[in-house]
Subunit: 363 residues, 3 copies
C-alpha cells in the first residue's frame, strides 16, 4: 500500500491552481460580444417549469448563453458579492444516484448566494410510504422556491409539475430528457465558435454524435437544441455500432429533420471522424435504476483520425469510450463543457426565481 | 411512456404561483390581532429542550402562535432580510426516514438565516460503532447550536438530553410524541377560529380524531395540546375501527379528562361527522423502523357527511384514508396546516436559540 | 417504554449551557501568549494539499495552534461576523461512514461563513459508474474551492491530488493517516502545557499511547507530529496487548527515533500509567469498509493508577476502553480535544483557501 507520507515526498502536496489554458476567459468574452442583451426573453421564463429541451427557442437560448458567459467571464463580480439568489431555497431532489449533476446545480445555486436542502435517498421520502407525487409537490410548494429533480421514472417530473407552484427543473428523467445538460453542450459549442450564432453562419459545422438517440436522454435533448441552430449545422452524423434497434424513437428523426437538421447515420467511426468539427460521445444509457453501456467498440483516443481543429464533447462520467490520451490535446473541450455547465445553470436558475433584474447590464 | 416534450405541448410548462385562496393572509392577521404580545413567555424557553407536548401551557402556546403568525403574515420582513438565526448552526438528525418533517425544519431554519448540517443515515454515525448517545450529545455540544432529532427508538431523545448543553427538539420519537406537529395542528385551528383563544369562548368546537391515541405519536401530542384549551372544546370524539386494543395508553384518557377534555369514542365515522367542526385523520403509526396502517376502513372523501363549515386536518403523508376529492373543497385545511408548520417551527426555533429580541415588536 | 412526558416531569427539560469548567478560556489564551504570530508560515500553505502529518514542521504547527487558539478564545469576533470563508464552497466527501469528523469539518467551515456540498454515500457517485478518481477530481475543480475526503481506500486521496487544482484535506484514508486528528491531539496537549513549546522545555513529558501504530491511522499521524516536538517529550511508551504483530510498520519506529523520539513498548498498562503525563488511547482500527477493535483488555477508568496531573486523550468514538467514570475527573481532556478540533480545523481551512489576511492581527 502506498502511504501518503511517501507520496508527499515525491512532491505531490502542491498544485497549480490554474491549468495551462491558452484562452483563459477569452471564450466567454467572445460570446458576450457576439450577443446583444435582450432581457425580455429571460423574463419570459418566470412561472415556467423546465422539463424538455423543446421549450427553448433560439432567442432564449442566446440570452441564456449570454448570461452564462457574463457569469463565467466575471465570477468575482456577479456571483458572491451580488448574491442574486439570497434568501432563495432550492430543493435538490436526486432520487436517481448522481454526484456530478447534483454538485453542478448545488454549486451554481450556492455561487449565487442561495441555500439548499438536499434529498439524495428516495427511500427516506414519503414516496416510500406511498405518498403521491402530487402531495410531494404540494409539500415542496411550502418549503422551497425551486426544485431540481432527477428520477429514474420518466413520468415523475410531469406528475409533480401539475401540482407545483414553484418552478421545477428536470435534471434527468429516466431515458427521456436532460435539458440542462444539452444547454451546457450547446454553450460549449457557442463559446468555441460564436460565429455560429449569426443568422446565416458562413462556416456551418458537421457534428458527430456517438450515441443512441432513442435511448440516451442527453442525446435526445441535445438533438432538440441543435435543431434550433440548424443553419449553423451542415449535418448531424449519428455513429452507432449497429446493435441498437431502433436508433431513433418514433418520429424523432422526422421531427428533427422538419426543424431543419440534416441527419445521417454510420457505423464507420474512423471513416467519418476526419469530416467532423464536433464529436459528441456518450456510452451510458439509464435503464430503470441502473444503466447500460452501449457502443462498446466505439472509442476515441489520441490516435483517432480527428480533424486538427475538431473538439470533443462528453457529458461525463466517461468510461473507456473516451480515452485519457485526449485530455491534454486541444480536442479536449469536455472539461470546459463541464466547467461551463455551472455557469449555464447559474443563468437558468437566476431566471427561474426571477432575479434577472439584479444581474442585467446597467447602461 | 409519456415524454416530457409531449407534456410541454399540452401546456404543462407554466404554473400559477399562488393557489386560488380566498383568504390570502387574512388568517394569520386575525390571529395576530387576537393575541397581545408578551415576550416573557418566549424568553422562558431559553435553556429548554422540547421533548413532549406536555411542556406547553396555554400562555406560551399563544405567544408561539402569535410569533408564527407574525412570520406568516410578513414573510418578507421577518425572514430573510432580518436573519435572526445568522451564525447559528442546526444539527438536523433524522435517524428515522423522513422528508416532510426534515424539510419543514430545514426550511424554517434557512428562512431565518441559519446554516445546517444534516444526518440522514443512522448507519453512518458513531452509533453504528457502538458509541453511546451521551457521547453523541457531547459531540453535538461542540459542533452546533441546536439539534432536531427523529428516531424510531423512543428513548434516544431523553438519553441525549441528559448530556446536551444545546437545545434539542423531538421531531418524533418512536410512537411516543411529535410535539411540533401538534403545535402546527393547533396553530391551524387557531388561525381558522381565533375566537377560540378567548378565556371563555362562546362557541366551543367538537373535534373528531380518526386515529389511535395509544399508538400514534401525532395524536398523543395533539391531545395534550388540546387539553390546554379545554374551554374551547366541547368534546373530543376518537373514531376507531374497533380493532385497536387498547385505544389509549395507561392513564392517558384519565389525564386528559382531568385536564378538562371531554372524550368519547365511536366506530361510526359517518354517524358522528355531521356533528364535528374539526376532523383530524391519520392512518400511520410508526413501529420500530417501519410503519403500520391502522383503520383502513375509515376514510374521508367529498361524499363524507361533513358539516359545511367543518375543516379537515391531517399531519401528512396521507394514503387512501384522505381522498384527493376533498383537496379543492373549503374543508381542506391540511395543506394550510403543512404551510403553517414552517412558521410555527420558525417561531419555536427563534426562541430555542434565544434570538427573540430580534423579532419582537418595536413600540 | 419511558415516555417523554414522564421524563420532562423529572426535570429533564432544561440544561446548563456551560459545563462546570474551572479554566474557561484560560487555555487558548495561555497558548496565544506563548506564540508570536508569524504569518509567512501560514501563507506557505497556499496551493498545498494536506495528505500526511509529515507535511507539518514545528514552526507551521505553532502558527496553526496560535490561529486555532485565536478562534477558540474569541469565537464571537473571528467567526461569524467576519466570515473569512464567505463565498467559498467546500466539497465534503465522506465515502467511508463518519459523523464526528464530517460534522467537525462542516461546523468549522460554516463557522467561518462558507457553504458546503456533502457527499455521504459512495454508491451515488460516478465512482459507482466506474469513473476514475482523476475525473472526479476534475469535476471537483469546477464545483468547489476545497475538498475534504475520507475513504476506506488509502490510495484515493493521492490519486485525486494528481488532478486537483483546489486543495484537498485527507480526513482519513484507510489505515494510513488522519492528519487533522493529530493536529487536534497536539493542539490539546499544547493548550494544556504551553511551556512545551519552548525551544528547550524544562519539564518534558512522558506520553503513553494505547494503540497500534502499524494499524491505526490516528496513531500514525500523531507519532509523526509528536516527533516535531521531540525536545518536549522524554519518552513515548506504546502500550499493547501482545497480540498485534507487527506493532510498527516497516521503518516507522526507526524514522521516529531518527527524528528524536525515544520510544519504548510495554503490555503492562497499570505498571506504566503512574509514570505518564499524557495517556492517549484508541481501540478502533479501520479495515476496508469496516473496523476492528484492538486491545480489548486495555482499559482506563477512574480506578486506573493515573498520575494525579495526567490527562487522557481519545480521538473518539470510544467504546469500553475508556470508561465514563473518567468523564467528570480532571484527567478528562478528550472532550476538550474534540472541542478544540473544530478550531484547529478552522485554522487549517482558513489557510487552505488563502483567507488568512482577514484574520491576522491588526497592529
Amino acid at each position: 500500500m502506498v502511504r501518503a507520507e511517501a507520496a508527499i515526498f515525491e512532491g505531490a502536496a502542491s498544485f497549480e491552481p490554474t491549468r495551462p489554458d491558452v484562452y483563459g476567459d477569452a471564450h466567454p468574452r467572445d460570446l458576450l460580444r457576439a450577443i446583444h442583451e435582450e432581457h425580455d426573453y429571460l423574463r419570459a421564463l418566470a412561472h415556467s417549469h423546465i422539463a424538455s429541451a423543446a421549450q427553448f427557442e433560439r432567442p432564449l437560448l442566446m440570452q441564456l448563453f449570454r448570461l452564462a458567459a457574463k457569469y463565467e467571464a466575471n465570477p468575482e463580480r456577479y456571483g458572491t458579492p451580488l448574491k442574486p439568489l439570497a434568501g432563495k431555497l432550492l430543493i435538490s431532489a436526486f432520487y436517481e444516484p448522481s454526484t456530478r449533476t447534483r454538485l453542478s446545480f448545488e454549486s451554481a445555486w450556492h455561487r449565487l448566494g442561495g441555500d439548499i436542502m438536499s434529498i439524495t435517498d428516495r427511500s427516506t421520502t414519503g414516496i416510500a410510504k406511498g405518498e403521491s407525487l402530487s402531495d410531494v409537490a404540494e409539500m415542496f410548494n411550502n418549503y422551497g422556491d425551486c426544485v431540481v429533480l432527477r428520477d429514474s421514472r420518466a413520468e415523475s417530473v410531469m406528475e409533480m409539475m401539475n401540482s407545483l407552484r414553484i418552478p421545477i427543473i428536470n435534471a434527468g428523467n429516466g431515458c427521456d430528457e436532460h435539458p440542462t445538460q444539452a444547454l451546457a453542450d450547446l454553450y460549449a459549442i457557442m463559446k468555441w465558435r460564436p460565429d455560429l450564432l449569426a443568422d446565416k453562419p458562413e462556416n456551418p459545422i458537421r457534428i458527430g454524435i456517438v450515441g443512441v438517440p432513442e435511448r440516451m436522454r442527453t442525446v435526445r435533448s441535445l438533438l432538440t437544441l441543435l435543431s434550433r441552430f440548424s443553419d449553423a449545422i451542415e449535418e448531424v452524423v449519428v455513429v452507432h455500432d449497429g446493435k441498437q434497434e431502433p436508433l431513433f424513437a418514433p418520429e424523432q428523426r422526422e421531427n428533427l429533420m422538419r426543424d431543419g437538421l440534416t441527419i445521417s447515420e454510420t457505423s464507420d467511426l474512423n471513416g467519418v471522424l476526419p469530416t467532423l468539427d464536433v464529436v459528441y460521445i456518450n456510452a451510458i444509457a439509464w435503464v430503470k435504476d441502473s444503466f447500460e453501456v452501449m457502443g462498446e467498440e466505439l472509442k476515441l483516443d489520441a490516435s483517432s483520425p480527428l480533424k486538427s481543429s475538431a473538439i470533443v464533447l462528453h457529458p461525463l462520467a466517461r468510461g473507456p469510450e473516451l480515452c485519457t490520451s485526449l485530455d491534454n490535446t486541444p480536442h479536449n473541450w469536455y472539461f470546459a463543457q463541464a466547467r461551463g455547465a455551472v455557469f449555464i445553470r447559474m443563468a437558468l436558475l437566476t431566471c427561474m426565481v426571477q432575479r434577472t433584474e439584479m444581474v442585467m447590464d446597467i447602461v
